[in-house]
Amino acid sequence: MIQMGLIELSGVSFAYPNGTQALSGIDFSVGAGERVAVLGPNGAGKSTLFQLFNGLLLPAAGIVTVNGRLVEKAYLKEVRRMIGMVFQDPDDQLFSSTVRQEIAYGLINLGLAGDRMEEAIAWALQMVGLSGYENKSPFNLSGGEKKRVALASVLAMRPEILVLDEPTAALDPIGAAKIIRLLNHINVELGITLVFSTHDVDAVPLLADRVYLMDKGEISLSGPTAKVFSRRDLIRAHNLRLPRVAHLAELLARDGDYRFPVLPLTIGQAKKMLLDSEDRDEIDVLAINRNV
């Protein structure tokens, strides 16, 4: 089977044992090095979808492949080594008695030891801004600190694909911004592919090349970020909203004398457009989109 994407799902359905049809007929694909966001209201099936990637759940119908390999018993180990997964609720993920052991857990399973392990632990903690927390118990941390430890424990394993279920939830704004920078950095520098879900619509244009919209277990829309957010009608129909600056621009265009060739999605874009529009010039849309 020739598969283009690093992760490919086609026609995937999944139902929980209590009968909830969490996913139906999902087609999904992530290319190497891409940054893909999955958006959708509560209960859309985002977390369920992510657990199919590394075989924590197996589909009732359809096919899941990772790097061309079918996700099934024989390849699970390989697939799981390739995909690092950060869970939505850090409480679910933390199970060791110190932060150090928590991060070491995955590394030991990778066969790392000694200085290389120490280095990896220190690096991961530094990345998430928790150096010095090594000997604390993960259970005695604040909500946001737990989230960071969970992220560090996966980051330390340097997977090829990072799957993050709401990576910025429960983080303070600066922490969230840092994580976004960090993720962009590892995407560019280490070539790690990113798949994440989030409710923070404002962060999506900063972190995603491509967006999937989910609702009620189905993919309702997908495409490049700017394109998806231009379908305001669909966005609103699926219980989502535009990024706040886009909303502002929309209002300005509706009630005032402002015209926007495309809605700005980030503060940077909005600034550029508003400043340019002072001169009421035609705006080079493409240039703006390039400088996200």
Partner: protein
Amino acid sequence: MHSAACSPFPPAASYIQRLDGRIKTCVFLAAVVVVSVLTRWPLAAGALLTALALMFSLHLPLRKVLLRMCIPFGVAWLVLVSLVFSTGHTIIGTISFWHFSMHAYQEGMTLGFLIMLRILAAVSFAMMLSFSTPMIEILATLRLLKVPGLILDLADMIYRYASTLEEVAATMRKAQRARGGDWLPWYRQARDTGMVAGNLLIKAFSRSVSTYKAMLARGYSEDEKLPPYFTCSIPAQDLLAGVLAGLILLVLLVCNYAVVWKNW
């Protein structure tokens, strides 16, 4: 820990804590077994004193130690009392009240005293193991000793989930208290406890599945051999200490069984 090379734990304060986990686990477990088969009370007493002395070298907070000794001590002296009145034939005294009388026997007294010493010594060594060695190292050592992997896997998970359950219980309790759960009559509280325990278990079950998923996602695989936990060999110094301790235990056994004792 000689270097962090062997295990993901911070350097520890005392000598015993720095010893290799494998040595500690083997020696302390062996010590527990040896002291609980001693039949000469001077030897048992000596073992107990040694254990207590070693325990001080760990710099444990005294309160913690005393608290831990309470349970076994409470049990131990009761053994003594009950044996005094039930075992033996040489009557050393009689207690009578109303028209009951109970004889105290010398043999029971000796045996009870011996058992009391053994209990305290064995518990002290077990306690030292738990205070000086992380559970993960104990389990890893047992793995090296060929204890069935399934049992150790389950033990590892039980150990991890214990804190999960505790945490879930604590938050649920808090949520109840915030809504006035503290001022119910006792029978309502009893029913509440049952209800909460059931819900707690269910919640803990789903939590345990999630945690297990997290373990799987980070490379845990059950049907394969786990990578060795101890990645370096035992340092010569620690090995020497271990062998020495083993010899001491052996001598203790020999003294107990092979040497002719006069009249103890």
